[in-house]
Assembly symmetry: C2
Homo-oligomer: 320 residues x 2
Amino acid sequence: MQLTLGTDIGGTNTCTGVVDVSGKVIKKASFPTGDYVKAEDYADALARCVRELMAAVEADADEAIEWVGLGIGAPNGNQLSGCIEHAPNLNFKGIVPLADLLKTRLDLPVVKLTNDANAAAVGEKLYGAAKDFDNFIMVTLGTGLGSGIFVNGELVCGESGFAGELGHMTAIPNGRYCGFGRRGSLENYCSATGIRRTFFDMLAQRGGSTALDHLPIAEVTSKHISEAAEAGDAICQETMEYTGRLLGEALASTALVTAPGAFFFFGGPVQRGGVLMNTTRESFEEYLIPTYKNKIQLIESELPSGDAAILGASALAQLA
Amino acid sequence: MQLTLGTDIGGTNTCTGVVDVSGKVIKKASFPTGDYVKAEDYADALARCVRELMAAVEADADEAIEWVGLGIGAPNGNQLSGCIEHAPNLNFKGIVPLADLLKTRLDLPVVKLTNDANAAAVGEKLYGAAKDFDNFIMVTLGTGLGSGIFVNGELVCGESGFAGELGHMTAIPNGRYCGFGRRGSLENYCSATGIRRTFFDMLAQRGGSTALDHLPIAEVTSKHISEAAEAGDAICQETMEYTGRLLGEALASTALVTAPGAFFFFGGPVQRGGVLMNTTRESFEEYLIPTYKNKIQLIESELPSGDAAILGASALAQLA
């Protein structure tokens, strides 16, 4: 029996799962990422977690297990170098060669690392809705906007290992302030946090009341806004429409680079469908050049949301 | 001796050249593209031109010749299908399967077709400055803005065969009117025609006089504007600076998709260097995310401008 390991490194928890060839997660374990300040100590902890998982699965198995390898999805993960580079939400700063640290600690044929969105793209290709696509772009909407790109059946890493950073594209020249002293980046509009900012912008521009007026500002989430939009709240509807128009236009521009057969969407705001995805589709088709019109699909991810990150990471080891 | 054929289909002339393995054009012939209304007649004429060239080279040669194949660079050429699709500046409308029409007329192992900018990218990779790059983007500035993209050492065609259409990216939302009812596309700003339009915009906004005031409007070209900018004319300098700022910003956004190691530039406006390229470099670095800063080169094409299109087309047959 062939099994693969996938690790999802989040700012809060590090979750590892054992995945079978059909893409089913058969056992999971996790520990708090923040417990470790030094990268070596963290690597020790992750290696221990992986070894314990492997031992537990082997103890339960009634046939021999062939371990394919370990894939890791990490913030700011560089697939070419196997390093985590300057991740803002992790304790270990600078450039951490995590794939190498784990190779020396584990006896596995493959240890690979990439960033979360690339892992999602590989997962969608191997286990999800992108199986039949050689040219596609995965878009993940959460706190930010991430992306992973396939060209000619291969994940695009680029010369630096950091291809697929669509969240930093300029959506509105001289628009909202982002990090790095830059302005108007797509993820400041089209992400869970971007939706929140647009909601406040609509409140400023339109005035009046909304269905969310009873909520403390700190508690307003994109989910509240999305749900209020579906229930007919005008300000929330405009918020989601504005988000969709910008997202559709940005994806229509992105399509000009690699001419994908489809975009896949992962993450709460987009997977809830509704106003946001309807407007995104309309705007996308409107901005496409004639050559592309009605030829590029916008498809919701088929990865199970709870296990998507682990599946994506494990798929990376499979594709090695 | 291995020789390859390259054909450049322009709105005015169709030029074919015989290219040796070092990238030297050893013989050329051409005929007026507009003489033929039907695609079959045009294919007959092109096949005749190719056969005559081959015969002439064979007659002069003192060793046996192995013909590698024919590559064709055509407006709206689709490399996947070998068709010219809806080329606005050619007589034959609709979808013309030109590669197939020539395969049946010529006894060559390879006949391939692509668009002009893709051909330029392949030419730069095989014969020019891109030899050492597996991930790069070729940008061609002429009447419009074209591009050809390499990822992992391969030309990107995309699902439709029409990848690399950067000229249609939105540079200014709701900006200048383009074709197709779209607005604000990059090539309406960053191309020879775009530079002319910006010059008139600067005249409108700034008022005053320029070094080009003696010219009839119809005769003003991007070359005049570029030369006047270098000579110190304020309006022309601002025109070229505006062009460079937009081009740099657009390329910084494009870099986020495939993370190329370099952009290469072909065409009069960019290859003249000066204000335009200086401003493009400054703007590009300014808009890059920190991960990419000082890591992506902007390089002028090393293809000889007179033979670049033929070299690019012939390179396509070589890479087959």
